[in-house]
């Protein structure tokens, strides 16, 4: 089973992205992906309630293929953000939470703990676009949260430092790494698997921002065992979400 753990739906003028459920499922069919774990761009960058509601409608078109993250623009929304996590779990059954750290508004703040605790209450994995050091801070605050470090350091704000991502993930049992990134550094997955084991690495593409074929080949072409690839490509996320 292949599960893409990092997919976007909706529209973003900054990222030049526009995608609906039908488009994503067509892509998944071409790529041989069984399920897509999806975050909605409006919810993540503008109006969380409107965006999460839109995601629920999109998931309803392909409920067997799409899984929803409740997205929150910033933990600085405080109780409103916490309430949104409760609402989206209870009303829509979303299975994960997506949060995003900006240089302009870091998520490495004491106020984020309440949001992480809300996700913990529903056993939601938390996909966090953030830096390794911010993850270090958050895991110290809420060590029982299951945090997925989006891009494993491979984005501009984190300076592409996947070594640091691996070092921090090694410190925290519940911190996992997401493979989605522009970076395709030879040896990065071999290093992560050797240091952490394949159980702590999850496959993601960041489509339709990034080319999914490139992202898939990063895992399938890596010099790691077939069992490690199976776990990374879907086994780990299936276990986390209790899927068959």
């Amino acid at each position: 089973m292949i599960i893409d753990g990092h997919v976007h739906i909706g529209t973003s003028v900054f990222f030049h992205m526009e995608a609906d459920a039908d488009f994503l499922v067509r892509l998944a069919d071409e790529l041989g992906f069984d399920k897509l774990f999806v975050t909605e761009l409006n919810a993540l960058f503008y109006d969380m309630r409107e965006g999460n509601d839109a995601l629920a409608r999109q998931i309803a078109r392909h409920p067997d293929r799409l899984i929803g993250y409740v997205s929150v623009p910033t933990p600085r929304l405080g109780q409103r953000a916490v309430d949104e996590v409760h609402r989206c779990y209870e009303k829509y059954g979303f299975r994960g939470m997506k949060i995003y750290s900006h240089p302009e508004a870091s998520i490495a703040e004491p106020g984020t703990a309440a949001l992480l605790e809300a996700a913990v209450e529903y056993d939601m994995p938390i996909l966090a676009h953030t830096t390794p050091d911010e993850c270090d801070y958050l895991m110290a605050q809420v060590p029982h949260a299951r945090l997925l470090m989006a891009h494993m350091g491979g984005h501009p704000y984190a300076y592409g430092d996947w070594h640091r991502a691996v070092m921090v993930a090694k410190k925290h049992p519940n911190l996992l790494l997401d493979t989605a990134s522009s970076q395709i550094d030879n040896g990065m997955l071999e290093h992560a698997v050797a240091e952490l084991g394949p159980e702590k690495i999850l496959f993601g593409t960041d489509m339709p921002l990034l080319d999914p074929h490139t992202q898939l080949a990063k895992v399938t072409g890596a010099d790691i065992s077939d069992e490690a690839k199976r776990l990374i490509l879907g086994g780990n996320l299936a276990r986390l979400l209790g899927l068959n």
């Binding site: 395709i184 030879n186 040896g187 080949a217 990063k218 072409g221 010099d223």
Partner: protein
């Protein structure tokens, strides 16, 4: 056939990269169905372009049917057009410039000398805006490479490094303005970017590259194999354009 226009071997000072030797590079090529690769020794990027070029030529001699030697050169240690000409006489098929790593500006008499010599000898000048697609390396502005191309319309300028969004748009603008600009795809990670780029500038100036040994070659093989372009365009990008640009018919 696949010709990788952007390969290298050697030590990488930022982390323990798994491929260090020309043998490692050829093994990676074998695993990924790549017949030939234009390469440099990283010694030329970090220590001495003279010694690096010697290593590159030795590797290309050992793997004569697989590795195509590319020179690198800087104004330090006596680099100039005459030195490049000697590299070409020794068998180099192109030259790569690393202004960020060799500490000189693109807007310089040295760059003009290299471009003039390259044009006279019919070899391309490759200018990577970043050494690989890793965000820790600050990128040169694509427009600054475009300015070199505009100053030297008779020189084939091969750009690598631009990725998606604003970098991609700058690249397209430069390629549309300068017919002597070519582009190598290893850092182009945006959704369906190869297809979009071919639609904007044609397939004749787009080249397959992997950035091996620093990058996973499989990623760029898959990117191009799955791009929504014609078979003819794919063949041109995988090898035909490199064959022409590097003048491999005369090898």
């Amino acid at each position: 056939m696949r010709i990788d226009i952007n390969a290298c071997f050697g030590h990488w000072p930022y982390w323990d990269s798994p491929g260090k030797t020309a043998d490692d590079l050829v093994a990676l090529m074998d695993r990924n169905g790549i017949e030939q690769a234009a390469c440099i020794s990283l010694r030329g990027m970090f220590i001495s372009w003279r010694d690096g070029n010697i290593e590159t030529l030795e590797a290309a001699k050992r793997f004569a049917d697989r590795l195509i030697p590319m020179a690198t050169i800087s104004p330090f240690l006596g680099g100039n057009g005459d030195a490049l000409r000697r590299c070409i006489d020794a068998g180099m098929r192109g030259v790569r410039l690393y202004p960020s790593f060799h500490n000189y500006p693109l807007d310089s008499a040295f760059v003009d000398d290299i471009c003039t010599t390259a044009a006279a000898c019919s070899i391309p000048v490759m200018i990577p805006t970043r050494p690989m697609m890793n965000w820790r390396f600050k990128s040169l502005a694509v427009e600054s490479v475009g300015a070199v191309a505009a100053r030297h319309p008779g020189t084939s300028i091969l750009i690598s490094g631009p990725n998606y969004l604003v970098e991609y748009q700058a690249l397209v603008k430069v390629m549309q303005r300068c017919p002597n600009v070519f582009y190598e795809i290893s850092c182009l990670q945006g959704f369906e970017s190869v297809c979009k780029l071919v639609a904007e500038v044609g397939a004749e100036r787009v080249l397959f590259g992997t950035g091996a040994v620093l990058n996973y070659p499989a990623c760029n093989v898959s990117k191009l194999e799955n791009a929504r372009i014609t078979g003819e365009q794919r063949a041109a990008i995988f090898s035909g354009n490199a064959h022409r640009l590097l003048n491999l018919g005369s090898r």
